[in-house]
């Protein structure tokens, strides 16, 4: 199967819900961010240290969830039944919370800000965290600027918010299992 249709050559694209919209529409920005984030998770997996491979299955599951998030964002709010079937259930965010709690148990308590850095997998986790925050911001704007109702994307918004927390903790986890110290921020 070929991946191109030529239908987007003039700067417009089709949503799952059928509308033709400009490729710089905030909704396209939002699901584009999610696509970028998903790719970064692939980079994290590739960079994951041997001692952190226990997290790989978890990251693969999150990648699958992000496909669903992208599909949800590519569905406008005009068809609420259709969109509702695509939103992530809150259980998926609970899955992230459990993973966060599990990693956090063994991490030293933070008493000051840390600089993003350390092991390559940790660095990529920080980059992914920033992209996740951007995806969340663009999703919020999508909801605000369109006819979409916020509760139609409740699971997606919760998930993105929790995922950035997960990625922060994952960065610290990657540094810990590789015995790479966090670098505290020294305020001037």
């Amino acid at each position: 199967m070929k991946v191109y249709t030529g239908g987007g050559d003039r700067g417009r694209t089709s949503l799952f819900s059928g509308e033709r919209i400009a490729k710089d529409d905030i909704r396209v920005e939002a699901y584009g961010d999610v696509d970028e984030l998903n790719s970064l998770l692939g980079v994290i997996i590739a960079a994951m240290p041997h001692d952190g491979t226990a997290r790989i299955a978890e990251l693969r599951q999150i990648q699958g969830d992000l496909f669903r998030v992208g599909a949800c964002l590519a569905t406008s709010g005009e068809d609420p039944t259709f969109a509702a079937t695509r939103d992530l259930p809150l259980e998926n965010a609970h899955f992230l919370e459990k993973a966060i709690d599990q990693m956090d148990e063994d991490l030293p308590r933070l008493s000051q800000f840390i600089l993003p850095g350390g092991h390559p997998a940790a660095c990529w986790s920080h980059v992914a965290r920033c992209v996740c925050r951007r995806a969340e911001r663009h999703t919020v704007r999508t909801v605000r600027q369109s006819s979409s109702k916020e509760d139609m994307y409740a699971g997606t918004l919760t998930y993105l918010n929790r995922l950035s927390d997960y990625l922060f903790v994952l960065a610290r986890y990657c540094n810990q299992v590789t015995q790479t110290p966090d670098t505290p921020w020294e305020s001037a």
């Binding site: 030529g6 059928g18 033709r20």
Partner: protein, 225 residues
């Protein structure tokens, strides 16, 4: 957006060929045994897995609930279509699916179905499911390739064959030209739900026309190769 469902679903099935019927010299239907508990929505497809290759085909409900129908165009250099055109009846086939989101979504806008060739298959499936009242443009070379006409014409509010080859004699209600020409010159301005199934070139051209002439419309598409 880039298709998120390029890979068919993981549900693997095995079926046997019950019947083969040639509709034209290069197009035939295969009736397959329906695996137990196999369910699909009209417009969805399966992925046949043959000799390390895979091809996607839309599903059409059979004459009985125990059958699934595939509408297949035989390609001269096509390994899969050649195999399907020649293998004995009762041959086992492996497939995955169903998959795809090309399903009918009721709305207040008129539905315009546009198919080229065997792209009629998902619409035939919708029609077999009881759908009525749509406008159908079926682009083919000649009237002999208007597959499922007997099924589609009575159900359609308007059934418009678009013939790119010789017109029948005596002249019929067919439109002499491509579906895209009909859209550019014949379809009234308005807001529609366009459903496109067929060759990539047709889909790209129709989308371009929709963007210019029917900008507030919806477009759903399924590519056939």
């Amino acid at each position: 957006m880039t298709s998120l469902d390029v890979a068919a679903g993981d549900n693997l099935h095995t079926s046997r060929i019950i019947h083969r019927q040639w509709l034209t010299k290069d197009t035939f239907t295969l009736a397959l045994e329906r695996p137990p508990d196999f369910q699909f929505q009209a417009g969805q497809r399966i992925r046949l897995l043959i000799g390390g290759k895979h091809r996607d085909y839309s599903l059409i409900p059979g004459d009985t609930p125990a059958e699934l129908i595939l509408l297949i165009r035989w390609m001269d250099s096509g390994v899969v279509s050649t195999h399907l055109s020649r293998c004995p009846l009762a041959t086992s086939l492996n497939f995955s699916g169903p998959s795809g989101h090309f399903i009918y979504r009721p709305s207040s806008r008129p539905a315009i179905f546009i198919a080229t060739g065997t792209g009629i298959a998902p619409f035939a499936a919708m029609c077999r499911g009881g759908l009525q009242g749509f406008v159908l443009l079926h682009g083919v070379r000649d009237v002999g390739a208007l597959y499922y006409r007997d099924l589609m014409e009575p159900a359609a509010a308007r059934y418009i064959p678009c013939l790119t080859g010789a017109m029948p004699s005596p002249p019929s209600e067919a439109f002499p030209g491509r579906v895209t020409m009909y859209l550019r010159n014949q379809l009234s301005a308005g807001e529609y739900d366009f459903y496109l199934a067929g060759r990539r070139e047709m889909i790209a051209e129709v989308i371009d026309i929709v963007d210019h002439r029917f900008a507030s419309s919806r477009v759903y598409s399924e590519i056939f190769f």
